[in-house]
């Protein structure tokens, strides 16, 4: 009997938590399936579900999303550019740092500490210094500014993660490659990277999600409609007077889908890469 009671209590708590997590998502989904008139009648359930709001967004008929596909494309472009740049720099760094003969242990520790410090540092506090830097070099309102600044925000953690991963690989792998006469490049690209695929996926997913979701940096660095990623284009929703919330919510769902799908698709790698590693310190 005692076990039953615990079960009931646990189930109740779980239900409350599920409602708390899902309520904002539910609110988005329900509202996105309403007609404009129904938005103002307050429904807990769509009486006649319609996909009209989604069509308004995807065909760019509603004036606040008249550049929807341009913005969506920009979001993809930034996310891919940042992920690839960050991946390249951090994998090369991780490889060099994990190589026993390259640097003394003291220098390696210094680099590790630097990466951790930069990762911990709140990225919003770097926003204005980076804005000033881009202003000095006349790079405001360019793709380069956004790509470089978001890359440097992901590189420290990715580098640290790559170094940890390469460090945990057996040394026999390298010795065997050397005996077979493989060059450094062959060893890195043909042997090490295929083995490190889970780590590469984790870094890529993390950087993609980080860039896709980041709001502050593109907000500060870009000022031309056609260069905005989706989230900055959506800013006009926040000050809208006409407020067709069904269209806003449809856009919000379309915008949220890529990172959510990526997370669930690569959850296994994300969790082992990001959280196990982070926990180990």
């Amino acid at each position: 009997m005692r076990i039953r009671l615990t079960d009931v209590a646990i189930s109740l708590i779980a239900i409350i938590l599920i409602v708390w997590v899902m309520a904002p998502v539910y609110n988005m989904v329900v509202t996105s399936l309403l007609t404009y008139e129904e938005v103002w009648e307050t429904h807990l359930w769509p009486p006649n579900p319609t996909i009209e709001p989604y069509i308004e967004v995807l065909t760019q008929r509603y004036f606040r999303v008249n550049l929807f596909w341009t913005w969506f494309g920009n979001s993809i472009k930034f996310a891919l550019l940042v992920s690839l740049l960050s991946l390249t720099v951090s994998v090369l760094y991780g490889y060099a740092i994990s190589n026993k003969s390259t640097l003394s242990q003291k220098v390696k520790n210094l680099f590790n500490t630097l990466s951790v410090i930069t990762y911990i540092f709140p990225s919003a506090l770097l926003a204005i210094p980076i804005f000033i830097l881009m202003m000095y070099y006349n790079l405001l309102n360019t793709d380069i500014a956004v790509t470089l600044s978001l890359s440097i925000l992901t590189i420290p953690f990715n580098s640290w993660m790559a170094a940890q991963y390469f460090n945990s690989m057996p040394r026999e792998l390298k010795e065997a490659a050397e005996i077979d006469g493989a060059s450094t490049t062959t060893y890195l690209f043909r042997i090490l990277l295929p083995v490190a695929a889970p780590m590469l996926v984790a870094i890529f997913t993390y950087s993609f999600m980080f860039t896709w979701n980041n709001y502050l940096y593109p907000l500060l660095l870009l000022n031309e409609d056609a260069k905005f990623p989706l989230q900055i284009g959506m800013s006009s929703f926040l000050a809208a007077d006409d407020s067709p919330w069904n269209i806003f919510m449809a856009t919000a769902i379309i915008y949220a889908l890529p990172p959510v799908v990526l997370y669930y698709a690569f959850k296994k790698y994300m969790i082992s890469g990001l959280f196990r590693g982070a926990v180990k310190g």
């Binding site: 779980a14 938590l17 000033i132 830097l133 440097i152 926040l238 990172p259």
Partner: protein
């Protein structure tokens, strides 16, 4: 050998050009007077107080919830509802702040929002959530807790799952209570991770921007700004770049202090 040297050099160039140099550059733009004039700026003082309120309320909530929920997820994983929860709980973290914040704003709408609709259904008066200072702060904190608790659950869950199952089995055989098991086995083993989470969430909450900007935009009447949104407002809407830099530099000592504590724990853990 060559590829290693080039790799390290690339890393150093990125690090120097995009982190060290911008900080030096912006620090060189301001003088002592800029800090003095900050202290005369009522909005700055207000932002600093708001930041303390924001941190003081949201961090205990986030970490207590994360500690309890990670325990629920690891200890009762056979319960079907807990299984559902463990699948969906990371959603708020994966959903971009812009989408989540739009949903919160619509739910908190005075006349048509879901929250007031539910309140009026159970006979309570409607609340102007985003139009008064205390309710606006509460809304910001609610969104922040919703969005960021999953991250700390994931961290603590990973730490809990690293604890060998045998320890719990022997505790069960000894007839230890749930509280005693937590106090004597679980907490000592996840203590390092817990304190790292606590300190990390402190530093990152100082840098929270989206929750304030997207939920209230600092309103009503500029009453809910914190340092990050104050800086952005000064720099980009009032052209006061110096004030913005000075305000960010003014919280830097706290950030550095907390970061030093984190590094200290990491170093101890590594030994």
């Amino acid at each position: 050998m060559r590829i290693e040297v080039i790799s390290i050099l690339i890393f150093c160039i990125f690090f120097g050009a995009l982190i060290v140099y911008p900080i030096i550059l912006s620090a060189s733009l301001i003088s002592f007077e800029d800090f003095v004039s900050l202290l005369h700026n009522e909005l700055y003082v207000r932002s600093l107080i708001n930041l303390m309120i924001f941190i003081g309320i949201s961090i205990p909530i986030k970490l207590t919830l994360a500690l309890l929920i990670s325990g629920l997820l690891s200890g009762f994983s056979r319960n079907p509802l807990v299984k559902v929860l463990s699948f969906i709980f990371p959603l708020p973290w994966a959903i971009p702040a812009m989408s989540g914040a739009l949903s919160f704003r619509w739910a908190l709408d005075v006349d048509y929002g879901a929250v007031n609709l539910i309140l009026s259904m159970i006979g309570l008066p409607k609340v102007p959530w985003l139009l008064t200072y205390p309710t606006a702060m509460a809304s910001i904190i609610a969104f922040h807790v919703w969005k960021w608790t999953p991250l700390w659950i994931l961290m603590l869950l990973a730490a809990r799952q690293a604890i060998p199952e045998e320890l719990y089995e022997s505790a069960r055989i000894d007839g230890a209570s749930t509280i005693a098991t937590f106090k004597n086995i679980t907490f000592p083993l996840i203590r390092n991770t817990f304190f790292i989470c606590l300190l990390l969430s402190t530093v990152w909450s100082i840098g929270e921007f989206e929750a304030i900007w997207l939920i209230t935009l600092g309103g009503p009447n500029n009453s809910t700004h914190t340092i990050t949104t104050f800086g952005v407002r000064q720099a980009f809407y009032y052209g006061d770049l110096k004030g913005a830099i000075a305000s960010y530099l003014s919280v830097l000592p706290y950030v550095v202090l907390v970061m030093a504590l984190i590094l200290n724990i990491l170093r101890k853990g590594g030994e």
